[in-house]
Symmetry: C2
């Protein structure tokens, strides 16, 4: 099989454009947000791309993220900073989720979360564009992925976490060579500090969607699903939504694949899943708004979706509405029950954000939004091992007579 | 690509045999150790296998453990209990390990460790052979893999851990539906309790090498390496050695591949890596013994290789000697330094047992055992996320003026 990390491939990026105004920005230069403060999207010459390679050639390559190289922005192969971005498996959960439900287990990626997809791309592009110092606000997993990839290529990193960030994430970030700080605030408040330093030229700002390439990395979730489902997308996708990069990325991937003629016009219904304690997208969806107001006093066990304000709010809401999906909120109790059910009944330990997608599926079924027999994908965005589990393990004294019948 | 989880495949198992005496045992029946108390090895009709399929056909299948089905014991596809056993990636660590060194990152497997390979096979076979209740002694990761696969197919499990077992492992085992106990003793002392219950007919004994199929699962590490290296094996393999199932399994795999004509007679030098605080194989290797005496007062940060006595000792020593390798012991300080270096310099967070392999490589290089430019594989047997990391994250007060130059 072809080695995607050493093969040179053609690059089809034509330019970047503002997701709000369509204003055009030059490729091959460092960009943050657009002039109106909105995310930039990378555009490709899809006609030339389609003439150069077909979907079967992609499918015949080694099964990692870099098999999609022609649909990705990195120009020079030597700039790829890889830690083994495997294609993540789809795992049935028949007992806890029912028939037809597959979990895409993103916890298998480097640093144990789907953040690796976005960060491997953003860091590789930072390397390509000569960035030497990066700062980022994070609820944990994005910071861990940034630290790993940046350390690997000698880029210095400063990571700011809300003080509620799980202990293991903060330690992991530091272990992988970043400098990390705990801030008495939410992720957008950490982001304000990062933004201030970036404006002063101290570092490059790697906040969600504030640089254009994380979305290109996250896009590969949609590309992989298309291939894994034999170029016939599933009926519904449940996606834990904080900053929403993955949902936006998948929607962009489907659009590009259709333009290439590799899939048809059929789209999955996209369900943006949030926690009841931080559900700005759900509120905006239900009120018919294009933008979401900040959610005050955000609180949920699912730290990864504790994002009070998302800069890509309009892109999330647009994709959900176009797809015929919904934004759904679930309680922490429902999240924890879902995690527990899937671990005990199907042997798959999900993260709380992954549990939220199963909880939302259960709600969607109860409301008649998802029919029996539909092909459903839930995103488990990180390994469950990063999250607290209940105490266990009663002591057993081997020096005394043990009643084996009670074991 | 072919779906390895639904396709029916031919089975080539002829029988099992005692690894010590060669005595023959019937396939398709439940077996523990041989009559002389030693492991049983599964034997295949390799001539018929080779006539039925070639290595290119295997390579063209989806890249998971089940692509090797003809070389595995499960007869009925419906008995496969899968959680997505992907092919694990090989990751370069140029800064901490040097050129030509690749880490096989087994932390990407279900439940975050290479134990999944052995347990997916053993549990699938237990299902095939009608087992309903399993008990196991474990230092953590094997118990977690057993719990996950057994819960997934409704088999009841009892897991006994030494009281020093990392907290996260004990909790993970319970979260995945097993009943788990903490025993005031070492793993072989837990094993004695499991053995007693098995003798009384209370459960089936899943101790390392005491049932014949874990080794067949672990064998896939060797099969994968052969394929990933283009059927030309690396020069040296460093393997963290507790019970040694993986080392024995890889050696068996290489033998089977050569008999099939899929690889030549060249073998990697096998380095069995242990901790200075528990190094029975190193002592036996250096003393030229065929069996290893129990290591008293075993103690090391690398819990997975804290195995004072291994039932497969003679198979480990035989493979290491035949390969021209060595058994090497490293200190806990060397282990922790290796973990830290690889995380900080190459962005890869290994487990202590994985760190031990890098520490041993450094020692082997210093002793002239490994030359510059040789192709070396280190086994990182589990995700580093399961292990304690140093405290990190200095507080930052966003309500006050922040001196950004100090970040």
């Amino acid at each position: 099989m072809t080695d995607n990390l050493s093969a040179n491939r053609a690059n089809f990026v034509t330019h970047l454009e503002c997701a709000m105004t369509g204003e055009r920005y030059e490729a091959g230069r460092l960009h943050g947000l657009s002039r109106v403060g909105r995310p930039l999207l990378v555009r490709y010459d899809l006609a030339a791309l389609g003439a150069s390679i077909d979907r079967d050639a992609i499918a015949a390559r080694a099964p990692d993220l870099w098999r999609w190289r022609e649909l990705l922005p990195v120009v020079n192969t030597a700039n790829i900073v890889s830690l083994g971005e495997i294609e993540t498996p789809l795992i049935a959960i028949p007992r806890s989720g029912g028939k037809g439900v597959l979990v895409k287990d993103e916890g298998r990626l480097p640093t144990g979360s789907f953040k690796a997809r976005g960060l491997v791309m953003a860091v590789s592009m930072a390397k390509e564009l000569g960035v030497t110092r990066i700062a980022m606000p994070t609820n944990g997993n994005a910071g861990a992925a940034l630290a790993a990839y940046a350390s690997r290529c000698g880029i210095e990193t400063i990571v700011l976490c809300p003080e509620e960030t799980p202990e293991i994430n903060v330690r992991e970030i530091a272990a992988q060579g970043a400098r990390v700080w705990r801030v008495n605030g939410q992720i957008d408040e950490c982001g304000a500090i990062v933004g201030k330093g970036a404006a002063e030229g101290r570092w490059f700002d790697f906040s969600t969607l504030k640089e254009p390439y994380r979305i290109e990395g996250k896009k590969t979730m949609g590309l992989e699903l298309a291939l894994q489902f034999g170029w016939d997308l599933p009926d519904a996708i449940f996606y834990p939504t904080g900053g929403g990069t993955g949902l936006i990325g998948m929607w962009k991937a489907f659009d590009e694949l259709e333009k290439l003629g590799w899939i048809g016009s059929k789209r999955p219904r996209m369900y943006a899943v949030q926690a009841e304690g931080c559900a700005p997208m759900v509120r905006a969806f239900e009120q018919g708004l294009e933008h979401a107001e900040r959610w005050e006093n955000a609180a949920t066990v699912a730290a990864g979706i504790r994002v009070p304000k998302a800069v890509g709010d309009f892109l999330i809401l647009r994709a959900v509405r176009q797809s015929g999906g919904r934004a759904l909120a679930v309680s922490d109790a429902e999240i924890l029950r879902a995690v527990d059910d899937t671990a005990r009944q199907d042997g798959l330990l999900m993260c709380p954000e992954g549990g939220a997608t199963l909880a939302a599926l259960r709600k969607a079924r109860a409301e008649g939004l998802v029919a029996e027999g539909e092909r459903v994908v839930l995103f488990n965005c990180a390994t469950g091992l990063k999250y607290p589990m209940p105490m266990a393990g009663e002591p057993l004294d081997r020096t005394k007579e043990i009643d084996l019948s009670r074991l």
